[in-house]
């Protein structure tokens, strides 16, 4: 099998190309010599199965960041038949360095001049054939996003793949010695084959930046947009959730219940009240999550996210963090795991660890499901979005508290520069792919954690045999009783305690567990919970859910990324302690004030 690696600078559109080539078939895999997972996909090229690997975006093969090391280690430990160098055509005057460095190593490659449409708009004309001749790599202009030139590029890749013989891996790190000639060659090639207009500018980006990066308006506008996004996710998502819940409820009543009625009561209860109710309740939130990620994808791909790093850097510095930490916190609103991996671009260990300590406080989409559920059950429709927004604000309060408290332990004075790419809008295709990706992610988690979680909860609430489900005599009753001295000061009752314990594995299980514990799902479950607890208890429960450990995957990622047992322990114990302090204080004060 032939092996192809994708290499390119950040913002060169490498992932867009990877997605276009692999469709939706990409999966994560391990590689020799590389400690992190990389995305890869198999595809048919020139009659052969070829494997294509998406390497992290890097600026320089010699660089010192973790990502740059990953690429180096990958090239040292794996044979590659062909490298696809993805470069932003409008910035070819600097992005060509990667190609020259790979050429110096003697690796077979193709140069893909991406975003050709943008370069053309800017008046930049590239003679790809001349460039190829000077560089010694075949080159082609294309737009991975819109598809122009893609079939030519595809053909070129097929031809080159057939031509090339496997090149031995680059044997030693010394081979990566700095090539002094690179700069001279770069000037020479660019002078010969690229025509830059005297003055180039992304005029739309400049106009937008004048407003969005305004010294006084920039930050209020940013937070205003974030609020609007969360409001939109809730307003559009709640009815969708309701609809899916209604369908799943009718499926249960009209199809599954009659179908399974011949089964013995215990097995029937296990399948319907355990497995089905648990998973159906979680599944009803999938539309909310897809919606949320669509908005996130737009913000992420638009280039506004890196602008938030620019706007927030000065404030984040006071907390011992920097603009990138802020971007990672925002990424964490989707899922904490990729946000934690995103800290690899940080070279200073102190900064990286402090950022990793605060990322798990980021209100991720799994926790959002719990909060949408709880607020819909216990708050009026007009209050609900505000309650959820208050929890997002809480994320930043907890981050502020934690970073100020720990910044002395994690020192850093890393110099850093960040690219501010022009504003772009994702295509429909990119958004659909993103939505599909989230559905798949959910199905993956559903089969892995959620099913096992709800099954275990069912056993705890229904055993020993013959007890009233979830009563004090059941196993869950015992556990709840045992934990009650700790959690009752925070107003968290035994039923919610069980949900929290399982929420440690994955937050989606929390609502699944509640469905199993209360033995109902959908609207009935919300009504049931509203009768059991009041809003003060619910808010305290949400605070606890927000702050304590996000999920097992996050802990595993922290362990893998930090490579430190004590740091992993700290990122378990500190949030747990803080969750209890904040929930209990909130609950006690609210009760004292008479709520």
């Amino acid at each position: 099998m032939k092996r192809i690696a994708l290499i390119g600078m950040p913002n060169a559109g490498k992932s867009t190309l990877f997605n276009r080539m692999s469709g939706a078939s990409a999966k994560v895999a391990n590689w020799p010599g590389v400690t992190v997972d990389l995305m890869s996909a198999k595809l048919l090229l020139a009659g052969n199965i070829a494997e294509i690997i998406d390497l992290p975006g890097i600026y320089d093969l010699h660089g010192f960041s973790d990502d740059e090391q990953v690429v180096r280690h990958f090239l040292c430990n794996n044979t590659v038949d062909l490298i696809l160098i993805v470069a932003n055509a409008s910035q070819i005057d600097r992005q060509l360095t990667l190609a020259l460095q790979l050429k110096a190593l003697g690796l077979p490659a193709v140069l893909l001049l991406n975003m050709a449409d943008e370069a053309k708009k800017l008046g930049i004309s590239i003679n790809a054939d001349l460039l190829a001749k000077e560089l010694g790599y075949p080159s082609v202009l294309l737009s991975a996003k819109y598809g122009q030139g893609y079939s030519d590029a595809y053909q070129l890749i097929e031809t080159e793949l057939q031509k090339n013989h496997a090149v031995p891996t680059v044997s030693l790190e010394e081979n990566f010695a700095v090539d002094q000639d690179v700069e001279k060659k770069l000037e020479h090639i660019i002078d010969h084959s690229v025509d830059f207009p005297i003055q180039t500018s992304h005029s739309l980006t400049q106009k937008l930046d004048r407003v969005l990066l305004h010294p006084w308006l920039g930050l209020p506008l940013f937070f205003g947009f974030m609020y609007l996004m969360f409001e939109a996710v809730y307003t559009l998502g709640a009815p969708l959730q309701d609809g899916v819940a209604w369908i799943l409820d009718h499926l249960r009543e009209l199809v599954l219940a009659p179908l399974l009625s011949f089964l013995p009561p215990l097995l029937n209860s296990f399948l319907l009240n355990g497995v089905y109710d648990g998973i159906a309740t979680v599944a009803s939130f999938v539309p909310v999550i897809i919606l949320f990620f669509l908005f996130m994808a737009i913000i992420e791909d638009s280039g506004y996210l890196s602008r938030s790093a620019f706007l927030m850097d000065a404030l984040m510095t006071k907390m011992g963090l920097d603009g990138r930490s802020f971007v990672m916190l925002l990424m964490g609103f989707g899922c904490n795991v990729p946000a934690l991996m995103g800290t690899r671009t940080m070279r200073s260990r102190g900064l990286r660890l402090l950022t990793m300590l605060v990322i798990p406080f980021s209100l991720c989409s799994a926790r959002l499901q719990v909060f949408v559920f709880m607020t819909t059950a216990l708050f009026a429709p007009e209050q609900a979005p505000l309650v959820i927004f208050s929890l997002y604000v809480m994320t930043f309060v907890v981050v502020l508290l934690t970073s100020l408290l720990f910044k002395g332990q994690f020192n850093s004075s890393e110099p850093f520069a960040l690219e501010l790419p022009p504003y772009r809008f994702p295509t429909m295709r990119q958004m659909i792919l993103r939505g599909w990706h989230e559905v798949r992610h959910f199905l993956h988690r559903a089969t892995k954690f959620i099913t096992i979680g709800v099954v275990l909860v069912w056993f705890l609430t229904n055993m020993p045999y013959g007890v009233e489900p979830a009563s004090a005599a059941s196993w869950s009753g015992w556990i709840g009783e045992f934990m009650s001295p700790i959690l009752s000061p925070a107003g968290i009752n035994p039923e919610l305690t069980i949900a929290l314990i399982f929420g440690f594995v994955a937050k989606e299980i929390v609502i699944g567990a509640l469905a199993v514990i209360y033995g109902v799902e959908g609207t009935a479950l919300m009504q049931g919970i509203a009768q059991e607890i009041d809003w003060v208890q619910a808010y305290s429960f949400m605070l606890f859910t927000l702050i304590y450990t996000p999920c097992l995957s996050t802990i595993a990622t922290i362990r893998a990324e930090a490579k430190s047992a004590w740091f992993t322990a700290l990122s378990l114990i500190w949030p747990m302690t803080l969750a209890w302090i904040i929930s209990a204080s909130f609950y006690q004060i609210a009760r004292y004030l008479g709520y």
């Binding site: 600026y59 320089d60 660089g63 980006t205 006084w216 920039g218 706007l311 850097d313 520069a417």
Partner: protein
């Protein structure tokens, strides 16, 4: 070239242009700056400064970057 024409990038005012003269940074950061387009002789422009006296927004050819003022102090430019 007069010596007075050389100043640090951090002393640039919004809207002013200059060319990169020297980079006094560690090699790791040097790679990064080079890759972003900070090369000797390249023209640049200070577009704006972030809120709370935050980082610089700099345009280098077709690339726009943010750079902290403390790091800009280690870059010499020619006015």
């Amino acid at each position: 070239m007069k010596l007075t024409d050389i100043q640090t990038l951090s002393a640039l005012k919004v809207g002013q242009s200059a060319t990169v003269h020297a980079l006094h940074v560690d090699s790791g950061f040097m790679y990064r700056l080079n890759a972003m387009g900070f090369r000797i002789g390249k023209p640049l422009e200070l577009i704006r400064i972030a809120p709370f006296n935050g980082p610089f927004h700099i345009k280098l050819g077709n690339t726009e970057v943010m750079l902290r003022q403390q790091d800009a102090a280690n870059i010499e430019v020619l006015m």
